[in-house]
């Protein structure tokens, strides 16, 4: 139609993937083509930062998620019920159609007793037990954030609580959304795809290609500085931060085009290197996060 000349279709599509899918879900729900499944959002060994990141989502936002997309039946940070009555929600949905979303790593030390998420009929429910109990029966399991997908910071050396990924304790497909935290769009877009078309296309490490197909480096707005060999010597410089330790070249995620917090900014634009938080191996294999060693040779 009458698009401006500088309109880029690829860019536009990328930004709107989640909201486009969500609108479709709403329409399908309205005409009764699909029904609202139950969603359990478990918090395990971690910082509970992924549920906060979910609350930071906009179009779709959290209200839309619980009003139009799913029946959210359990989340430790937000549910009104407490104690055994809260845990009862988990027991009651076991035989229903539900999706399990889990953030945080699974502490395995001493049969999981390093992370108890509640008490039921006097017995401690470990995170390990909850993940296995729900994970076996869920229609889909989504591991959200670095701790859930590969242990993340919770499993950083020397891994005091012997934390592992959600996948490590389940013999089934687990969709993985690495990131510290997970961007709300990565989760909501994946969920919308599941509701509409089933499981999204995944790469060989079970990440949705919709979000995790391309490295940050490939789409970095400072890529031309890299190509010309113009490097930042300190934070705050408006050049390529490769020599400050940027992990963009090894991190597959769409941050450069999506950006964060209602698409307002992202680490590179904030004049800091990417620390590889959305890549397997974070944090131990991504350190040091910042170094002023600008004497290293650039290896293309």
């Amino acid at each position: 139609m009458n698009k401006p000349e500088n309109f880029c279709h690829g860019y536009e599509t990328k930004l709107k993937t989640s909201s486009g899918l969500i609108d479709k879900v709403r329409d399908q729900l309205k005409i009764g083509a699909i029904s609202k499944p139950n969603l359990v959002w478990l918090e395990l060994t971690g910082c509970s930062g992924n549920i906060i990141s979910l609350l930071d989502g906009a179009n779709p936002d959290f209200s839309y998620l619980i009003k139009e997309m799913v029946n959210m039946v359990y989340n430790n940070s937000l549910m009104a019920a407490e104690g055994e009555k809260a845990v009862q929600h988990l027991m009651d949905i076991l035989d229903t159609d539900f999706i399990l979303a889990a953030e945080g790593a699974v502490a395995t030390k001493n049969n999981g007793l390093y992370n108890v998420i509640g008490r039921y009929k006097g017995e401690a429910i470990t995170a390990l037990k909850a993940v296995q109990m729900l994970g076996e029966k869920a229609a889909h399991v989504i591991a959200i954030g670095a701790c859930a997908t590969h242990g993340g910071v919770s499993a950083a050396r020397p891994n005091p609580a012997e934390c592992v990924s959600v996948q490590s304790v389940l013999k089934r497909k687990v969709i993985k959304l690495p990131g510290c935290p997970c961007h709300p769009d990565w989760f909501l877009g994946t969920l919308a795809h599941i509701l509409l078309y089933g499981e999204p296309e995944l790469d060989n490490r079970d990440r949705p290609l919709l979000f995790y197909s391309t490295t940050i480096h490939d789409r970095c707005p400072r890529r031309s500085y890299f190509d010309k060999g113009i490097f930042a010597a300190k934070l705050g410089d408006k050049a390529c931060m490769f020599k400050l330790g940027c992990r963009g070249p090894v991190t597959r995620i769409d941050c450069p085009v999506r950006q964060w917090n209602e698409y307002v900014n992202w680490p590179i634009e904030d004049d800091t290197p990417c620390i590889g938080c959305a890549q397997f191996g974070f944090p131990d294999q991504m350190e040091p996060f910042i170094s002023y060693d600008t004497t290293r040779e650039v290896k293309p």
């Binding site: 940070s77 108890v116 919770s154 800091t272």
Partner: protein, 470 residues
């Protein structure tokens, strides 16, 4: 008749905890707060590059990540003898202010409101345990509307943070010297615009809402009192040109306000799962080893003490010490003080924004010292937060973290003084022992952050087989 009540999980807090209370004649006669937290960050940090602490320690907490970036940055500046410029301080304190707004909005509407206001029960998330909802329908419905509106405003507080901090949770902006990037005029006006809409919401909706609740729950001015000892490390204070915009480092006990002295902080471990040569340890002295074979221990949380006694920290302490609010010390006063603080912080942020010089770069190349030690102490969303560290061979050799929730949700100490929240629970009258809504309300007034708690109790007995690998 004596009855034991156990609540686990205590929902609508960050992380997991258990409350155990003994009730006699409908009154709590003893209580334990079992914040059973062990992630071992202090161990993980050993051997890492000192600069990494700023981003690494944020992963302690998803709702107050910025707090840890502030404390770790201050600690690094202390060890490296770097004094940030005033512009650097303004910039990062604006980021810090955004986190206060986000946290308090979410804590009041998403974590506290469901205790007092009946949310639409056609959502499974809003089903409740109890029926103690006292607001008339019209007032109840108005606050329900604000519950959903607040979701937008707290999200916008984080958007505002990301304008200077890159992203959040776990921002990239706060760093040695101030922040990493420069505040351009478009960024400054964007923040001012968002802040103005948040300020309007606070004044027109949030503050009236907390007083509406207070009107119908007057009894909550008389429970959850604790010791009445208050402490702050100070925040938004001691600017060269602007002076103190909020609160200086102060303590309050026995009716007197005194200057705070960091040398008087100790942590006791007698009732926590740790062992050391001493029971009372100064922050830079030692990281005690885990030991779960102590007969009387019941928590991973230690017992921070100031001059050997427990102190409360957080919004009420700050409001009291800065003279902004001195109505009382109770569950309701704590809840009101947090709401009033949001207004105060938004005003402080406006002052800081008005004093920014656009495009100021505060970064330089930093060098890690070979050997050094230091501390970063600051009052943050939930209260007094301290990071202490030592550097040897240019890497971290020692890292100590004492969080605000350790102060508030501490265990008892060797002189048998209970933790502040435990003390606050004791004496409370329980209306319905089958649905003891009072406990959660009192505990949530402290806004505890027990990310990743680790429970090792089963049927009320300690499990002897548990060992922790160092």
């Amino acid at each position: 008749m004596t009855k034991k009540i156990v609540i686990n999980p205590v929902t609508r807090i960050s992380g997991f905890m258990e409350i155990e209370a003994i009730i006699e004649n409908n009154k709590i006669i003893d209580a334990k707060t079992e914040g059973l937290l062990f992630r071992g960050f202090e161990k993980m940090l050993n051997g890492r590059h000192p600069f990494d602490a700023v981003y690494f320690t944020q992963r302690i907490c998803g709702i107050c990540s910025t707090a840890h970036s502030m404390a770790s940055t201050l600690a690094l500046e202390d060890v490296m003898n770097i004094i940030p410029t005033q512009q650097g301080r303004y910039l990062r304190d604006i980021i810090h202010g955004c986190e206060f707004l986000q946290n308090h909005l979410r804590h009041f509407f998403q974590y506290t409101i469901p205790d007092y206001v009946r949310l639409p029960e056609n959502y499974p998330l809003f089903e409740t345990n109890h029926n103690d909802f006292r607001l008339p329908k019209e007032k109840n419905d108005r606050i329900v509307k604000h519950y959903f509106e607040a979701l937008d405003l707290s999200r916008n507080a984080h958007q505002m943070l990301a304008v200077l901090g890159g992203k959040v949770p776990h921002n990239h902006g706060v760093f040695i010297g101030g922040i990493t990037t420069q505040a351009t005029t478009d960024k400054i006006i964007k923040i001012k615009s968002i802040l103005s809409s948040i300020h309007e919401f606070i004044v027109e909706k949030m503050i009236p809402d907390v007083y509406t609740i207070a009107e119908y729950y007057v009894d909550y001015y008389h429970n959850g009192c604790g010791y009445g000892n208050l402490l702050s490390y100070g925040c938004f204070n001691d600017y060269k040109d602007l002076g103190t915009l909020y609160v200086n480092p102060l303590v309050y006990s026995d009716g007197n306000i005194r200057p705070f002295n960091a040398d008087r902080i100790t942590e006791e471990i007698e009732y926590s799962w740790y062992s050391d040569k001493k029971q009372s340890i100064k922050p830079l002295e030692a990281i005690p080893e885990e030991n779960m074979d102590k007969p009387d221990a019941y928590s991973w949380v230690k017992a921070p003490r100031y001059e050997d006694i427990p102190f409360e920290t957080g919004p009420l302490a700050r409001q009291w010490l800065s003279g902004q609010y001195r109505n009382g010390i109770s569950t309701m006063d704590r809840t009101i003080a947090r709401v009033l603080e949001v207004k105060k912080i938004s005003e402080v942020m406006t002052t800081l924004l008005d004093n920014l010089i656009p495009n100021t770069s505060v970064q330089q190349e930093y060098k890690v010292p070979d050997t050094a030690e230091g501390a970063g102490l600051i009052d943050t969303t939930r209260g007094a937060l301290g990071h202490w560290l030592k550097i040897e061979n240019s890497v971290i050799s020692f890292y100590q973290i004492i969080t605000p929730s350790s102060w508030n949700i501490s265990t008892r100490s060797s002189n048998i003084l209970k933790g502040t929240a435990e003390k606050a629970l004791i004496g409370t009258a329980i209306q319905d022992t089958e649905n003891p809504v009072e406990l959660g309300r009192i505990i949530r007034s402290f806004d505890p952050c027990i990310s990743c708690a680790t429970h090792v109790y089963s049927h009320g007995k300690r499990i002897k087989t548990i060992k922790v690998v160092p």
